[in-house]
């Protein structure tokens, strides 16, 4: 497989992927990129004069810093052949817009993809995308295949627009011959302890959220450990293109909110819109209102199972912890 470069390795999903790559004997070298200092979880992996794991600080949205890294002699010496694009996520999923009002996530995806295509030795790129890019029709069961239409409505919230833009960038390059591009569309990612990533409403700090009363969409979920396994499977597979990746479970949004410590307060639609506008005026953040808060979905993962050989390994549910509290857990199936 050769060396693997992982973007945003300091964020939770990036760390999980780096850990799994570290224990994979087929990965000779790992370059982990992050914006902050090296996570303490990597300390034990970086021991020795020539450690398998190299951590580099990088501003992923700056063209100059990304270009310098990809053209550096050091990276050539590390013989990187694959790139894992982990998007920005976690407590602050979206930074300030960069040049020409391009959102940070879109700028990062564009730069990493461009440099990977330009690099002579990089042969494959595995990108993590979001399954919330699909267009949802009224109903609680939009069964979505990889070729289901994307939501290209101009009224799509900016937080979703960045996912859609990134998705289309990777899709466009997936048809190219020089670089094998695999895009994994992920639903809500959860981690033991009640952490949630990549969900436009639930992502970020724990706390109450607002939702539309009378709607409780079904949300497919996947454990963060399964995401890491899916990335490893995609790296080892010759298959290219877009794949839906999801776990076995799906839960209603209200239940997912409770499980992850983000209780959802149901407000009637007009009140919710008024509350959103008021919050925007007060500078408390942009209102988020999208079909995904009303209409549920389920992902068809048969293509990933057939071509990548991916099958989820973890079950997600509630377990009673030692202190008596109920916690979200992902355990081996």
């Amino acid at each position: 497989m050769g060396g693997v470069l992982v973007t945003h390795a300091d964020l939770p999903l990036g760390r999980r992927i780096v850990k799994l790559l570290w224990y994979d004997p087929g990965t000779p070298r790992i370059v982990a990129l992050g914006e902050g200092p090296a996570p303490r979880a990597f300390d034990s992996f970086r021991i020795g004069t020539q450690p398998r794991l190299v951590y580099e600080r990088l501003d992923h949205a700056r063209q100059r810093s990304v270009a310098e890294l990809f053209r550096s002699r050091r990276l050539r010496e590390l013989e990187i052949q694959s790139v894992v694009y982990v998007p920005r996520h976690g407590a602050s999923p979206e930074g300030r817009p960069v040049v020409a009002h391009v959102p940070t996530r879109t700028a990062e995806a564009r730069l990493i993809l461009h440099q990977a295509v330009e690099h002579r030795e990089i042969r494959s790129l595995v990108a993590l995308g979001s399954a919330f890019v699909y267009q949802l029709t009224p109903g609680n069961a939009n069964h979505l295949l990889e070729d289901s239409p994307l939501d290209l409505d101009p009224a799509v919230p900016a937080a979703l627009r960045t996912w859609i833009d990134s998705d289309m960038l990777f899709q466009a390059e997936a048809a190219g011959r020089r670089l094998r591009v695999t895009l994994l569309r992920l639903p809500t990612v959860v981690a033991s302890g009640g952490f949630v990533y990549l969900h436009p409403l639930l992502e970020g700090a724990a706390g109450p959220r607002l939702r539309s009363a009378g709607f409780d969409p079904l949300c497919p979920v996947i454990a963060d450990k399964d995401v890491a396994h899916a990335v490893l499977t995609a790296l080892a597979s010759p298959a290219v293109g877009v794949f839906n990746i999801a776990g076995r479970e799906r839960v209603p949004l209200s239940v997912l909110g409770r499980w992850t410590g983000r209780p959802l307060l149901a407000l009637p639609g007009p009140l919710l819109r008024a509350a959103g506008r008021s919050a925007a005026r007060l500078g408390l953040g942009d209102p988020f209102d999208a079909p995904l808060l009303r209409f549920g979905m389920s992902l068809d993962t048969r293509r990933a199972a057939a071509e990548l050989g991916f099958a989820p390994r973890y079950r997600i549910g509630l377990e009673r912890a030692g202190d008596g509290a109920l916690r979200l857990e992902a355990v081996t199936a």
């Binding site: 300091d10 799994l20 109903g139 609680n140 981690a191 209603p252 499980w259 202190d323 509290a325 109920l326």
Partner: protein
């Protein structure tokens, strides 16, 4: 690849994982986490009011039997008092009061005690050996009978939480007593031709539609559940506007109904499900009284999918639905202005307000016709030929109309 074995500690631990700098998680003992309302078995029993009502009915029945056997009204009151006193006092084994043994057995069933024989019409009072049912279904079995509870358990088996279309077995159990009462007592459904329901594999049940509110769909689903062997839950296909209705969309999804998109239809058939379709669509439920039991134009998509999936189409006639809310007039401009499928005027609506929308207690009759196995005569590629699909849909339409005309 077994990466887990090489990890330092593959056992998930609380507080382990990426959360250290991944944002604050819920604090220990965070009550906000709560639990799944459907999975929570420690809360108040939702069937308790029903059971109390059942006990009262049973007590009334016993008193009626006692009256028939010559017991005086004077002797009844002490029996009731003794029974209540018996409930308050802790019982010892073999010391059951002779005054009200049936009540005590119904309230606290014991495996060693003989169960009461079911009355012929009171299937809701029948109980069998409940010990094999899971605890939550034992309560349901006491309410609706053993056989329906077992059937419900069978269709919910294998679904952990919610299925991919939002079906929740727990929600189904909670809704079942209401629809069972409607099926048995309100609409008094009679049905025939159950032998035409395939035991396994994908099948499309195509029925006529009527009655303003889709109680015909609910009764058809109940009938299939109660009469198919092995028990099957028919997944009714909903019009898309139902998916946008607040609360309605959630309820429909939790009890197994699915919005009719091509992807959903195809996936359901791939899963080997029984699908209930109303090819008339919304035109069926808003047709005026002058058109009752006259089938409207058919949507033909169900034939396409049946051909592709190799599923038989079972024509199904539902009689009674067109009489439950006869539409005298449909104010179409008003419906368009309100964004509703119909603005009906019936003998009771809008004169009695929303109550006027409730269906009249008409008797339902459901008839299953012979399966139409188009896939045996046509290749799956015939689904791409609109002329063939339209002709086959016409066959289904005529088959349903014949069933209706033959039973009216």
């Amino acid at each position: 690849m077994s990466h887990d074995e090489q990890l330092p500690d593959p056992t998930p631990r609380y507080g382990d994982g990426p959360e250290r700098d991944g944002g604050p998680g819920p604090a220990a003992g965070d009550a906000a986490l709560g639990s799944d309302p459907f999975a929570d078995r420690d809360g108040p029993d939702p069937l308790a009011p029903w059971l109390d009502a059942l006990d009262r009915i049973t007590a009334g029945e016993i008193l009626a039997v006692a009256a028939e056997s010559g017991a005086t009204a004077k002797s009844r009151q002490p029996a009731r008092a003794d029974e209540l006193a018996e409930r308050r006092e802790p019982r010892t084994a073999g010391a059951a009061s002779p005054a009200a043994p049936a009540i005590q057995r119904r309230r606290r069933p014991r495996a060693s005690q003989p169960t009461r024989t079911a009355p012929p019409r009171g299937q809701a009072l029948r109980r069998g050996d409940e010990s094999e049912l899971p605890p939550e279904l034992r309560l349901l079995a006491r309410l609706v009978g053993d056989d329906p509870a077992r059937r419900l358990a069978a269709v919910g088996a294998g679904i952990d939480g919610w299925d991919r279309f939002g079906l929740s077995p727990n929600a189904l159990q909670q809704a079942f007593p209401i629809f069972y009462a409607l099926y048995r007592s309100y609409f008094r459904v009679r049905s025939e031709g159950h032998q035409n329901l395939p035991a396994t594999g994908p099948v499309v049940l195509a029925a006529n539609h009527g009655g303003l509110l889709p109680f015909d769909g609910a009764m058809a689903v109940m009938d299939v559940l109660l009469h198919s062997e092995p028990p099957r839950l028919a997944r009714a296909i909903l019009d898309r506007f139902a998916g946008a209705l607040p609360w309605v969309n959630v309820f429909m999804a939790r009890v197994g109904q699915v919005v009719g998109t091509h992807e959903n239809f195809s996936r359901l058939l791939d899963d080997g499900e029984a699908i209930l379709v109303f090819p008339e669509g919304i035109d069926g439920i808003r047709k005026p009284i002058t058109q009752r039991y006259r089938l409207q134009a058919f949507h033909v998509g169900f034939v396409e999918h049946a051909l592709r999936a190799g599923a038989p189409v079972v024509p199904m006639a539902i009689l009674g639905s067109d009489d439950q809310a006869p539409i005298l007039f449909d104010v179409k401009p008003l419906a368009r202005w309100l964004g509703l499928p119909a603005a009906p005027i019936t003998p009771t609506f809008p004169w009695f307000g929303p109550v006027g929308l409730l269906p009249y207690p008409v008797r339902y009759r459901i008839v299953y016709g012979e399966p139409l196995c188009f896939h045996e005569r046509f290749a799956a590629s015939a689904a791409d030929d609109p002329a063939v699909v339209s002709a086959l849909a016409g066959q289904v339409r005529r088959a349903i109309q014949r069933l209706i005309d033959g039973k009216r």
